[in-house]
């Protein structure tokens, strides 16, 4: 099933992202849940980053229209970038979580849906209202037939690619912090390192090997 958007304009506005479109089917079964969670976390963080800069994460939507000077002075300390944030209610209610099957749910459920729909203009009611009121569209949730921008899509593919190539890690309480016992040292890979692994001989060695090969040094 392909990605789709469910928007009723009252209590639900959810984009169901089908990760099979980006390679989830090739991820080992035991790693799929972790892969979906990683993609969901990334999607939320990246959307918040882009919206904070007044940029839509949806392909083809571009930058949000800037705020009027009066509104900017009154509410935003003069800053005219439209970051969809006044008190924080809207962004606080944005969810991104693994759903059944190969899907991730991304959007809003509950009391903030009318506000979100006013910005995204996904439901028929919101579109009609926007035509009459002239409210600018500031879409951060893809509609049917739309997808996230190339950078986000590329990173989703990269995340799933990492999970395809990496065996599941054993997460134990002392795993990461025990320097003495080699037998429980977690598997290290340059494709999916933790912050602690990054300076190890293995990871830096692989980066050096990549660099040497790129330069044709061997």
């Amino acid at each position: 099933m392909a990605s789709r958007t469910e928007a009723n304009g009252t209590d639900r506005i959810i984009h169901k992202l089908d990760l099979n479109e980006y390679g989830l089917q090739d991820v080992p079964e035991s790693s799929k849940q972790a892969a979906k969670q990683e993609v969901a976390d990334y999607l939320l963080e990246e959307t918040l980053r882009q919206v904070a800069q007044g940029q839509s994460p949806v392909e083809g939507e571009g930058r949000f229209r800037i705020l009027s000077p009066e509104y900017a002075v009154r509410e935003k300390g003069g800053r005219r970038t439209s970051d969809l944030e006044l008190e924080g209610d809207l962004k606080d209610s944005l969810i991104s979580q693994p759903a059944a099957g190969s899907f991730i749910d991304f959007g809003h459920i509950g009391s903030q849906v009318p506000k979100a729909d006013g910005h995204n203009q996904l439901s028929t009611r919101a579109k009609d209202w926007a035509k009459q009121s002239g409210m600018p569209k500031r879409r951060y949730i893809p509609d049917d037939g739309q997808k996230f921008d190339n950078r986000i899509v590329g990173n989703i593919r990269r995340i799933l690619d990492e999970f395809q190539r990496t065996a599941p890690r054993r997460e134990q309480a002392d795993d990461i912090f025990d320097d003495e016992d080699e037998t429980i040292r977690p598997q290290i890979t340059v494709n999916n390192p933790t912050s602690r692994d990054l300076f190890s001989d293995d990871v830096i060695g692989e980066l050096l090997e990549e660099a040497f090969r790129r330069r044709g040094l061997f």
């Binding site: 008190e87 060695g205 090997e209 330069r215 040094l217």
Partner: protein, 233 residues
Amino acid sequence: MPINIVTSRQFKQFLNPNSPEGLLAKTRKEFSKRGPVKVKQAIVQDMTKGISPVKGKGKWKRYSQSYKDVIRNKAAYRIIKGKVVRFGKVFDGLTQKDVRTIGGGRQSRQASRQLKTAQNVRQQLIRDLNQDFHKRSSPTKQVSPVNLRHSGGLHRSLQLFTKGGVTTNFRLVVTFRDRLADIHNRLGAGKSKVIRRLLPTNQGEQFNRKITSVLLNELRKAADLVAKQFGGQ
């Protein structure tokens, strides 16, 4: 200058991990020059947008209404656990002098008689102090996103530096010198003890994907530079 190496195993031996002049050590040294600065920028950028640097924590929880008033310079005083609290300072109790400095006049003298018994005196004091404070200020600051940047002290206290030998125990230290960081990260801020994670200090945690990719990218650049220097020999 091509080297006669065919396999990854041979390359690992070539790297000479135990020597401070080996390529692994040189890569770590190169990383130390720019890497900490770039990673610090990435952390601050996420903080400024209200995004936790810790993986899986998403956006920070909103400020309370009373703190929003503080940011907007509409208030500087509030009651916490029965005590009058000024942002950054706690008054142990109300004195006659405190009451007289609010605004003077008949109301204040009446209030001073009921000083030790009336809860509403504290409430009135809060209102008067805030009104007085508001007269001298103008609301300009945003209350959202939550960026933990009221005076800028917390952000300025973020420090990153490398530590340890270049052959063993090399690490990047990320720390906040301001004690507020521990309050936000671990103890909880305000009356509701809201936790806003700043650093991945608990077991199993790590930085979010963006910051980890900046780290990895800087390491990759360092490795590339070392390879370039080797090729030029």
